[in-house]
Amino acid sequence: MKIRRILTAMAAAATAGLIMLVLPAFAHHATGPFYDPEKVVDLQGTVTRFVFRNPHAFLFIDAPDASGQNSEWQIELGAPVGLRRIGWTPDTLPVGMEVKLTGRGSRAEGSQGVCCVRMTRADGSPVLEGGAVRERTQD
C-alpha cells in the first residue's frame, strides 16, 4: 500500500513538475527556532486570507483547534519570488477554498502556526491545476 502511494506520487510528479510541498526552500530564515519538527499538525479548513508577499507568503485558514472549535491558523509558505517561478500567483489560494495540509506546529505556547506543509485541495488533488503532490521528506 505504502509502495503504491509512493509510486503514484512519483508518477504525478513526473507528469507535471509543479511542487506542492511548500517548504520555504528560499531560506529567509531557519524554521527550527519557530516550528517543532516533532509536532505534527493535520488540518482541513477554509482559506480566509492569502498574503502573497516577500519574504514569506502566509496562508490564513479557519480550521478546528485542539478543542474542536474553529479558529484561525497561519501557514508559513515559501518566498513569492520563488513561488511565482512554479506558477503561484496571489490568486492561487482564494478566500473560501478548502485545503487539507500536514506540517510542523509552531513552538510558542498557544500559537497556531504551521510550516513546511504538504498541502492539497480538500479532495486530495493538487492546489494548482496540473500540479503534482510531493510527499513530505523525513526529518
Binding site: R53, H56, E76, S106, R107, A108, G113
Partner: protein
C-alpha cells in the same frame, strides 16, 4: 582648377583621417579606468544562486566546522544575549556582506568601465564596486559599505569597508554581529560556465584572524529577469509570534 584641386585635396585628407581613426580604434587597447594593460574577465550576466546550485544557508552553511570564526569574548557575550527574532531582517532590513552573496537567490553582475554593479534579487540591493581608485570618506558608511576593486589575472578583486554596525551582520543563524571595522575581500572569476567567489571576512572587534568561504553561481535560466523583492513589513514579522522568546 586651383579650386578643384583644393576640394579634392580636402576630400582625400578627410578620407585619410577617417581611415586613421578607424585603424587606431581597432588597435587601441580597451579603455578602462584601471589602465591599458589589465585583462578584464567577462563576468557579466544574471547568475543563479538558488538551492539548485549550492547548499542552502543555515547554521553550518557557509560557516561550518572548517571555517567558523574564532570568536572573542565580546562576540560570545553578544551570543548570550542573542535570540533569532532580534535579527533586523524581520523588519525588512536588507542583508549585507558576507551573507548577501550566499543568500539563495539570483544576482546580476554588470561591468562598466569605471565600476562593477552587483544587483541582488534578495532585498533589491545594489552594490557598486568602484574601479577608478576613489577613496571612501567618513560619510560613506552604509549597510553595504564602500567597495573598491580592480582586475588582475582574469579575476575581479573587491575590498569593502565602511560598514555600519549590524547586530547580525556576520551571521544571523548563529547570532554573530559585525562592526564598523569589518573588512570584506572578494575574488570573482569564471570557471567554465560557473561564476566563482572566494570571500574573506576580518572583524577584529568580534573575532581573531580572518575566515573565508568559496561558492559559485550558475547562469540563470534562459530569459530570466530579476524580480522585485519588495519586502513587506507585515509578512516579514508574521513568524515572530511563533518564537518562544527567552525574554517573555
Amino acid at each position: 582648377m586651383k579650386e578643384l584641386i583644393t576640394i579634392k585635396t580636402v576630400r582625400i585628407l578627410a578620407v585619410m583621417a577617417a581611415c586613421f581613426a578607424f585603424v587606431m580604434g581597432l588597435l587601441m587597447p580597451q579603455l578602462n579606468a584601471q589602465g591599458v594593460d589589465s585583462h578584464i574577465p567577462d563576468l557579466a550576466g544574471i547568475w543563479d544562486g538558488t538551492p539548485r546550485v549550492r547548499p542552502v544557508n543555515g547554521e553550518t552553511v557557509p560557516w561550518g566546522e572548517n571555517n567558523f570564526p574564532d570568536l572573542n569574548a565580546r562576540a560570545r557575550a553578544y551570543q548570550e544575549v542573542w535570540e533569532e527574532i532580534m535579527a533586523p531582517k524581520y523588519d525588512c532590513q536588507p542583508a549585507s556582506s558576507p551573507a548577501i552573496q550566499y543568500d539563495p537567490y539570483h544576482m546580476q553582475l554588470t561591468q562598466w568601465p569605471d565600476r562593477v554593479l552587483f544587483r541582488y534579487e534578495k532585498d533589491d540591493q545594489l552594490r557598486t564596486v568602484w574601479l577608478d581608485g576613489r577613496e571612501p570618506t567618513a560619510t560613506d558608511f552604509s549597510l553595504q559599505g564602500f567597495s573598491r576593486g580592480y582586475y588582475e589575472d582574469g579575476s575581479l578583486y573587491v575590498t569593502t569597508t565602511h560598514f555600519v554596525f549590524d547586530i547580525a551582520g556576520f551571521d544571523d543563524y548563529n547570532g554573530i554581529p559585525s562592526s564598523s571595522q569589518k573588512v570584506i575581500t572578494e575574488r570573482y572569476w569564471s570557471e567554465g560556465e560557473e561564476l566563482r567567489l572566494t570571500l574573506t571576512v576580518e572583524d577584529p572587534m568580534f573575532f581573531n584572524g580572518d575566515v573565508s568561504y568559496t561558492t559559485r553561481w550558475l547562469p540563470a535560466g534562459e530569459g530570466y529577469r530579476l524580480a522585485p523583492y519588495d519586502c513587506d513589513p507585515e509578512a516579514s514579522r508574521l513568524s515572530v509570534q511563533f518564537f518562544p522568546s527567552k525574554y517573555d
